[in-house]
Amino acid sequence: MLGFPQDHTQAPCPRNGRSSPLELVLSTHVEGFHFEPALRGTALLRPGRGCLVVSGPAPVRRDLWRPTASSPPIKRPTEDRLLGHSLPASPRLPALWGRLGPGAGRSWPLPIAPPIREGVSGAGPGREAVPSPVTACWSGAASSGGAAYSPRGSPHRLEWRGRQTLSFCLLIIRSGGQGFGETWTMGSMFRSEEVALVQLFLPTAAAYTCVSRLGELGLVEFRDLNASVSAFQRRFVVDVRRCEELEKTFTFLQEEVQRAGLVLPPPEGRLPAPPPRDLLRIQEETERLAQELRDVRGNQQALRVQLHQLQLHAAVLGQGHSPQLAATHTYGASERTPLLQAPGGPHQDLRVNFVAGAVEPHKAPALERLLWRACRGFLIASFRELERPLEHPVTGEPATWMTFLISYWGEQIGQKIRKITDCFHCHIFPFLEQEEARRAALQQQSQELQEVLGETERFLSQVLGRVQQLLPPAQVQVRKMKAVYLALNQCSMSTTHKCLIAETWCAARDLPALQEALRDSSMEEGVSAVAHRIPSRDMPPTLIRTNRFTASFQGIVDAYGVGRYQEVNPAPYTIVTFPFLFAVMFGDVGHGLLMFLFALAMVLAENRPAMKAAQNEIWQTFFGGRYLLLLMGLFSVYTGFIYNECFSRASSIFPSGWSVAAMANQSGWSDAFLAQHTMLTLDPNVTGVFLGPYPFGIDPIWSLAANHLSFLNSFKMKMSVILGVVHMAFGVVLGVFNHMHFGQRHRLLLETLPELTFLLGLFGYLVFLVIYKWLRVSATNAASAPSILIHFINMFLFSHSPTNRPLYPRQEVVQAMLVVLALAMVPVLLLGTPLHLLHRHRRRRRRPTGRKEDKAGLLGLPDASVNCWGSDEEKAGGLEDEQEAELVPSEVFMHQAIHTIEFCLGCVSNTASYLRLWALSLAHAQLSEVLWAMVMRIGLGLGREVGVAAVVLVPIFATFAVMTVAILLVMEGLSAFLHALRLHWVEFQNKFYSGTGYKLSPFTFAAAED
């Protein structure tokens, strides 16, 4: 019903020009059809200068458009006069009228009516492009249509809404560049995108094409509106069943193709879901093909069985003539001859009969025993295995057979034998004496059969070839079709049965694309599908668009929990902090470089199809995180330079800041002194010994020092605490954006501020002490340097130790104040938010309807709460109202108490937790040190002569290299990764991230195309 201008591109953007042309989107009503919920649009216009560019859907005739105050009462328009109908008159309706020519693009002045009422101001977040839109209301009388625009400020925003229950023309004004989601300015990485609940009205005729188009685009996630309806009572269950039937046929065809040892080629090109009428064609084609295949297959089977029988027969006959059997025969005969020929014996006239046949080998012993038992030994059975296995007629696999020849006396026994062989499913063949000729005939028969069989198989392969061509595209198409019907099954029917109503989640940014897709796909039907936002009480799904770089970082965050809707997304910060914290634990130039190069190789080769096609799960994991690895390697190189370690060796890029020569000269180390002392101390207080700090990182001379480890430990421990406190404080600060965004400003004051004070007052002060001591205490007064640890403990005990010199004057006062301040924050944190909420709740209850009335008046609608604008501000407001209605004091207090305890205790334990940075980096450094000392150094010291050293070094270096990769890169890398992950998930994200959302999973054909 709703048409949008076709020449989208020609509409000038209202942002840049003084004259801000608007698109007037005409929408018409088909008889009997009505929109139940609201339709909305927004537009920007400047007062007095508005100019409407009118365009409309092509197939509809454009006639006079003249709504006046004296227009006739509403009539039901006929199809061809759709647009020629008048808007219902209303005293509050701006006299909007004009004449539309037979083409799009006409413009005429837009009269601006005085505003009805000023509404709420303030833009929702993410809509900053619209400066304080003040909404006003315009509503129709006969209908409940309305529009709002702002008379103040420039440019203004005009919002229009219509709610129609009658048949008349509908008007939507929509600005060129300011459509639904285009005011979005904020980067979508920082929080999840605005996702709107969009109601789609799909005219029954066009519903299929629309949904199939949506499936191609993958824009929207359908909500199941028929959750209470069981699977077989849904509307399109018949179509789904037809698709399933077809899929069954496909499975049959596929199995046949695979059985013939052929492969199905992957489908080529774009294969849209076929229109429903094509299903018949596909069905017919596949059915015919399947039938043909079945026939040919059946023929082939029958022929094969026949051939098999013939071969068996020949084999059985052959056995009858084998010398072994002949021997048995004569032997048996000679044994019995005297008995049988006893004079007057009753068996004189009996002659020996034969039953010959073949049986599967595993049944043979049972058969033999049963025969013997049942016939009490009145037979002679001989079993022989076939020399060469025959092809099984069905599976085609070689199978051996046991042939048997039973000779017996007496008709009764014969019947029994026949019954028994029947029950064992033996193949029984006539066996007569004069079989020589018969064998030759059999040979010929089987040859003929083989020829026929060859012919049949040729035909079969032809049919299979056709299947190979037809099947892959048809499979994809039917899969898509089924997906479409399953999606349609989630839609509900409108009361008039003219259209299907679907509720979908769609990113606000994609709304224009959605509109366009709907318009395009419903164009042919002459009626247009409509999409419009409706307010939702449910939390929308989270959508964060990623690219190949950010995907792995987002993956790290999502593995913890998908963010709540529009919550601050930690992923952008993780891009920096994760590789950095990893690198703090993994600092080594050599190892970092190896990792970097490995990741770089993957990144450079990422477009090769072989890379993506690799099935190995471990490889896929690495490949998926290639950019993460790249950054981790890079940062490790950086921290490696800071630690001055490359495969545990220090490098001296710059000259060392320490001078041994100066020390030796000043303190006059004699040769004897040097010979006696293996350890020498460099005293920085001696002039010329310590020339100044090393320009970058750790001085390489430390790697020679015996107290290397204690020096590094002190450094790394303090560094861990500093990084930890900064990281956590950053997390708390990020919470500010959440509070601002969700309009919970009270939490800024009552939660974030106390939290920050607590964290920084105690642990921030510790960081301050560390840095202060680094800056103020130098080697000259090192002997009497104050201990930070003692100071920090004393700070909480409000005491002081006389031996520990204060760092700065009045230190105790400052410390006492800080502790008191931090402790004072605990009750604020504990009680602030609950008390505030309770207070506000009580105030609301005192005047419960005030705001509602406001809103209703503003919109000029009776039930405004159902049909609010859909701007975030109001939605949030609505939700808040809801929450407050169900405010349970005990729950709020409990929740806040848990939060407070968790935060305050967490500050201590989390700070301690960051010490893992120190521990892991220590472990890494020591492991690589050990590896070097125990492998390479020994290897290098082994051979004095060049030749020996070279030979020895090859295996030793190989060991070193393998162990470096296996232990230091893979194992240590994994453990450092794990710890970095934990620091992010637990210590960082619990400061602000709830992660209780769910992902937007759009309806898409991507799975069907595989």
Partner: protein, 350 residues
Amino acid sequence: MLEGAELYFNVDHGYLEGLVRGCKASLLTQQDYINLVQCETLEDLKIHLQTTDYGNFLANQTNPLTVSKIDTEMRKRLCGEFEYFRNHSLEPLSTFLTYMTCSYMIDNVILLMNGALQKKSVKEILVKCHPLGRFTEMEAVNIAETPSDLFNAILVETPLAPFFQDCMSENALDELNIELLRNKLYKSYLETFYKFCKNHGDVTAEVMCPILEFEADRRAFIITLNSFGTELSKEDRETLYPAFGKLYPEGLRLLAQAEDFDQMKTIADHYEVYKPLFEAIGGNGGKTLEDVFYEREVQMNVLAFNRQFHYGVFYAYVKLKEQEMRNIVWIAECISQRHRTKINSYIPIL
């Protein structure tokens, strides 16, 4: 057997027990039955069964769907599961599973012999045979003319052989004799199975013995009920009762003398287990004796799952699954015959 199955049971049978418990969890729930009952056609039934653990087991069936097709497919499924258990079982569980198949084998043999008597072709009868009780020599049954013939020639190698000691006779196999043969075989089978479970001891005995005792008593009741008004003498009747169970020996002696249903009921009233069952007959929904016995059986089988480390779960699972299949077939029959008034009288599995 050593006591304390929990110490070593899982070494050999832990996997299968876990498996069978998983299978038990896939039995249809009350909600499933409610949905099944609402189905209008067998196609609906099929679609609904697809949403359960049956999956699309009917997918390859050509239309039109019939009740017997559903039944066959369900049996095939059960048989497949059972074969899997059996192939992965170790002693003594494998013997236990063999014992379980024996009852089906007896049924099949009797069915085939009856068929032979009525001159029906073997193939026709074979379709009706339960797949769990299939064995190679089965089809040769019709060559036997007397029970000892049957034993000597055909069944001597099958697991059924030990049950023949009591019923070796040279009588020709007419309808009555076949029925007698069946009951004697059953009696012998149940007694042997009972002895096996009893000797196994431990939880298996604690769980299986009551179930088998109930089975024996049920047979006694059913035999009595069916023998009213036939030429079967009271002495002969007594020889058919399995010689164990709650009724053994006094109850059985009394049952042998019973002459009508009311007398049977008075005998049952002496036993607190059977009194409520007989009282429930004809109650709400017009239950038959068979129904109440089935309900009681289901109850006992479900309870078997409350204990761990025993073989009874296998028996109970197969019986429950059988009951479920009977229920589905009942519902399917009601649907296909448009006889919806009785559709709700399936036996609910708790």
